[in-house]
């Protein structure tokens, strides 16, 4: 059978796919994407076209309620021992709609600052510092919701607390919008995919950026000056999940795949490829020492405590954010 997998770059490295195919006789078709596109695609197909998808845990509940694009996960078909229990529990709780569970965790990580410490370390300590004239033309970030959230925190707000209060949230977003528009001149370009950012930083075209932790750690291998830094206002913590699209046609293979990649050895391979840790219990043992070291360097204990984990996004917020993002992009 064929498993059509809709996932992030790095989450299904070729060697893992090959291993899986050899062991099971199935074939895997990988489509790389991001949260918004995953949801848009599933919405257009009303949950068809793919057998397994990996949106972040905060993006499961809302779209499910709006479009009904996922189907419930039969957790009993999973080898639950492979998951870190606390993470499994938290994710299931965040992705439950009408009593059905729609997501289980896979990869987790944070967003923060990736920078060349030699060139920008002095100046950039928090998201808002990306707007400092000292790094003009040398910074980048995504024009997506994490940036809005990150800037909100660094401007001293707590957007997550305002999730329930649309008016308040709007007010926060207006502040962020003003900041981002003001900051626009500083930005070289808004990056789109992880590798794109890595190219920008590696080539020196960008010295500081809001980005996923893993990017910084990967670049660290080539250039010791470059690394991931948890921002003063706290890194943003995310968990990417497994969900079953409503009209997937290979659920069994999907469960097989989940059970396969959650095995500690395999999970470690994914960590090596994606740069992020997984929800696989015991994969730590197999993980590369270097990565662990980098993780520890980026995250002293107080930084770990300061991680802001995304709660599920209530419906309605996205349209507020969307307009803000459009306005920022169009501003001149």
């Amino acid at each position: 059978d064929t498993l059509r997998l809709l996932t992030w770059g790095g989450y299904a490295p070729d060697e893992v796919v090959t291993m899986f195919e050899e062991q099971t006789g199935h074939t895997v078709e990988v489509t790389k994407s991001n949260n918004e596109e995953m949801i848009a695609k599933l919405r257009a197909t009303s949950g068809g076209g793919f057998d397994l998808a990996q949106p972040s845990q905060d993006r499961v509940m809302g779209p499910q309620m709006e479009f009904g694009i996922y189907k419930p996960i039969d957790v009993s078909k999973l080898n639950q021992d492979l998951f870190i229990p606390s993470m499994l529990k938290a994710t299931m709780a965040n992705t439950t709609v009408n009593g059905d569970v729609y997501g289980v965790p896979h990869v987790w990580g944070t967003s923060g600052l990736v920078m060349n410490t030699a060139e920008a370390g002095e100046v950039v300590k928090d998201y808002a510092d990306l707007c400092d004239p000292a790094v003009a033309g040398k910074v980048s970030y995504r024009l997506k919701r994490p940036t809005l959230i990150g800037f909100a925190f660094s401007l001293g707000e707590d957007p997550f607390a305002a999730y329930g209060d649309e008016a308040k949230y709007k007010e926060i977003m207006e502040k962020v919008e003003a900041k981002l528009i003001e900051c626009k001149a500083n930005v070289k370009t808004y990056w789109g995919g992880g590798d794109e950012l890595m190219n920008l930083v590696r080539s020196g075209e960008v010295t500081a950026s809001m980005a996923w932790d893993t990017g910084g750690w990967k670049l660290n291998d080539d250039n010791a000056d470059i690394t991931f830094v948890a921002p003063a206002s706290g890194a943003l913590g995310w968990i990417d999940t497994f969900v079953l699209p409503a009209k997937g046609q290979a659920d069994d293979v999907a469960y097989e795949w989940i059970n396969f990649v959650m095995q500690p050895e395999v999970a470690a391979m994914i960590t090596a490829a994606a740069g992020n840790f997984t929800a696989s219990a015991g994969a730590d043992e197999f993980a590369e020492e270097g990565l662990k070291a980098k993780y520890q360097a980026s995250f002293p204990q107080e930084a770990i405590d300061n991680i802001k984990w995304y709660p599920p996004v209530p419906a309605g917020l996205e349209s507020i954010e969307g307009e803000v993002l459009d306005r920022v992009q169009a501003a001149n």
């Binding site: 059509r4 809709l6 770059g9 070729d14 078709e29 990988v30 489509t31 790389k32 994407s33 695609k41 257009a44 197909t45 009303s46 068809g48 076209g49 793919f50 789109g192 995919g193 992880g194 590798d195 794109e196 950012l197 890595m198 190219n199 920008l200 590696r202 080539s203 009209k247």
Partner: protein, 283 residues
């Protein structure tokens, strides 16, 4: 100003220089793409790290070449499949359209002709979304009515093919019509006069006459389908054709692998175009 009108040397040199500059402008991006397919580096940019074939034939990370890159090869296959379907379909419909407009007079012909031209002035992305929207409406309607899920009506290859077909057919129609217009209908009458019935006359005289245009249209349709982006972007499902696959990768950042693919694309399509030109010159 034509060669037979005497012109001062300076004017001629300046003009010639401008034209040369123009062709430089045309050639530059493509040349650069081609050259950096051989850069022994992770990046398609300076500095030049030395020459390598790895981006074509390499089979070890990080320099996996085109011919060992499953995703790209698969996408090429998908593109070729889509393009072949689009070419065959659009040329078939283009031919019937050409005959219809050339051979019959009927009420509303002018209107239909303008409608036929319309896809040329509809932005590709709008074509894409309109078909996306309509096919979803249709699929949802069928679901509501019969609880039947027609996956073919969801984004995927069929929609991609139909989406491209919807405007490439106009081009095929124009190409074939142009040739049919040049067809001297007395040739068909001559065939009738020599004992052929209508269908035989069309088969033995008209279609052979149209063949160069039809082959030309097949090639043009194939190439247009192969490189189509805007319409496809809105209709693509899980198997992405090459342009979409390359775009996804480009968004992630480029490696010389993309240059290698591009170079092969350039060679392939130039070859195809050249073959077509040679064929058409021959007949």
């Amino acid at each position: 100003m034509i060669p037979t009108i005497p012109q001062s040397r300076t004017v001629r040199i300046v003009y010639g220089g401008y034209v040369a500059l123009f062709f430089l402008y045309l050639a530059l991006p493509l040349t650069v793409v081609a050259v950096f397919a051989f850069n022994d580096s992770q990046f398609p940019s300076l500095p030049w790290e030395g020459f390598t074939w790895n981006w074509f034939f390499g089979d070890t990370r990080p320099q996996i070449g085109v011919f060992h890159e499953r995703g790209i090869l698969g996408a090429v296959g998908t593109s070729a499949f889509v393009a072949a379907c689009v070419a065959v379909l659009s040329v078939a419909v283009g031919t019937t359209n050409a005959f219809l407009f050339n051979r019959y007079d009927f009420r509303g012909k002018g209107l239909l002709y303008v409608l036929m031209l319309l896809p040329l002035v509809i932005p590709g992305i709008v074509l894409g979304i309109s078909i996306l929207v309509f096919s979803s409406t249709l699929a949802n309607g069928i679901w509501d009515l019969a609880q039947m899920d027609i996956q073919a009506l969801r984004p995927g290859l069929l929609l991609v093919i139909l989406g491209q077909f919807s405007f490439i057919t106009t081009i095929a129609t124009l190409v074939i019509s142009a040739r049919l217009q040049k067809f001297d209908r007395t040739l068909e009458e001559a065939a009738l006069n020599l004992g052929a019935d209508r269908l035989t006359a069309v088969r033995t005289i008209t279609l052979p006459f149209l063949a160069p245009a039809m082959i030309g249209a097949v090639v043009v349709a194939f190439l247009m389908s192969f490189e189509n982006f805007n319409t496809t972007l809105m209709l693509v499902g899980s198997d992405a054709p090459l342009t979409i696959a390359m775009f996804d990768r480009l968004k992630e950042g480029s490696t010389p692998l993309l240059n290698a693919v591009s170079l092969l694309l350039m060679l392939g399509s130039s070859l195809l175009a050249l073959m077509m030109i040679l064929f058409q010159r021959r007949s």
